[in-house]
Amino acid sequence: MINPSDERLSALVDGELDEQEYQSTVVELLACGENCKTWGRYHLIGDTLKRNLPKGMDYHFSSRVMAALDDEPTVLAPPSPVKSSWGQRAAGLAVAASVAVVAVLGVQLMYQQDEQTLMPPRAQAPTQLSPLSRQQQNIARATQQSLRDNIQTVIQPQSSTTMGDTRKSIKQFHPRLNRYLVDHNQQAPRAAVQGMIPYARIVAYPNSHRILIQAQK
């Protein structure tokens, strides 16, 4: 196996290779683990010189990204030339990077559990606006009953999670209050400086709309 010389790697990092040299160097680089490491070191040196380094470094980032890429399911597609595999890897890196951004926000998605708890019976009814047909009313009632059964579970996680220490004395949300909350949101909208946020809440948290339906008993 032909290894690209350190000189050529350095030229690759600096973008000084012509098209043909570039392609052959990349092919060779991909084929040899040691070259990858050298190539990485050159980039690190370059970034250090250009003062492009972040304050905190994750030295295992690239290996974790590569591991994540290896875990990706195989896509059934015609074989593509070597150059496009770079494209795929770059796309993979972009995805990994955006995941990293979300992780940086320091937040956890706790939805799956929420949604499983909330899933009501599937209501199949003809599309029709109010007034609701008898069939719809029956379905609505059934849905409401199920929501009533669920309502404590619906509210509990919200009131007992992050607020924790600051709200020790607070009881869990009383079902009766749902109706008031919905009405309050409709009649006395939130401080308008916050704009569309009430709607963002509807999209983000199905609870708000469930409460509306629950209230229409």
């Binding site: 609505a140 909208p189 709607y199």
Partner: protein
Amino acid sequence: MSSFFSTRLLLPTFIFATCLSGVVQAADQATLNVLMRMQTASQNINYHGTLVFLQNGQVQSMRVVHKADETGRFERLINLNGVAREVVRKDNLVICYMPDSKEVMVSRQKFEGDINVLIQLAGNDFTELQKNYEFTLESMERIAGREARRVLIQPKDNLRYGYRLWVDDKKSILLKSDLLNERGESLEQAMFADIAVVDRIPENLLQPTSTGDGFTWYERESDKNTSMILDSEWKIEPLPKGFTVSSRFRHHILGSSVPSEHWVLSDGLANISVYFEKFTDAQEAFEGVSSMGVANAFGILNEEYQITVIGEVPAGTVEQLAHSVVFASGVEK
């Protein structure tokens, strides 16, 4: 973002602001100008982008499309993670598509009669607002790749929450918004991760993904039974500092067989609702404090009435308010 203002209030507000600008200090005037420009941006700017929404440690991202022109205001929000829950809004008509439960909610948002923050911010009431909040124009910060001016709205006591807003320097769009608790910690955050300001929004961007076929449709009843209250048997004494009664009306709240008396209190930014409802089922009676998301509520029983105070204010405020409720006519008798 702030598209929930009545369009017709816009012009008088502007004139009002200009006339009264002399009352406001120069530094405050600069802050007021930023906020005013932000309010008007939603009336004539088209944009689409990705909004990240954070509450109670949960994060969601959604696509936002906003269009405003002579034909009206249109907005579409669609959840990007998990189930594609979607809100499509045309002026006052709001349609929520919930594919996970195969339900569609239709409602009309009323704007008439509401205390509108536009008026508050624009007029001499800005000085009223300054009694309860301190407005500070902070440094520039980069949000969604754009330069944004940071505005801090800090409460002067612990009766209300604060806000931190990031307003686009060029287009005055609200790029990021924080709701802050008594200790200045973020309760709720919304932020554009990316945004594109465009000349026109293609029609297909406003079309809901879901047709709603095979879904159950619910429409919120109209508020035709709502009536204003002139004389109430109730009094709230004293009102929490800085709050005034902005409206009192009687209407049926959803799912209730008896009409409720509903008072809305406002300090110009925060709103609190007080409900007086004769309870028909003693088992439903509720006493004590409770919270959900950023809202706090306090229930109390008085003369066979369930009194419920609810609002996006600290728990102490709703509790204090609930204890200030007096059955006035009962006292006189």
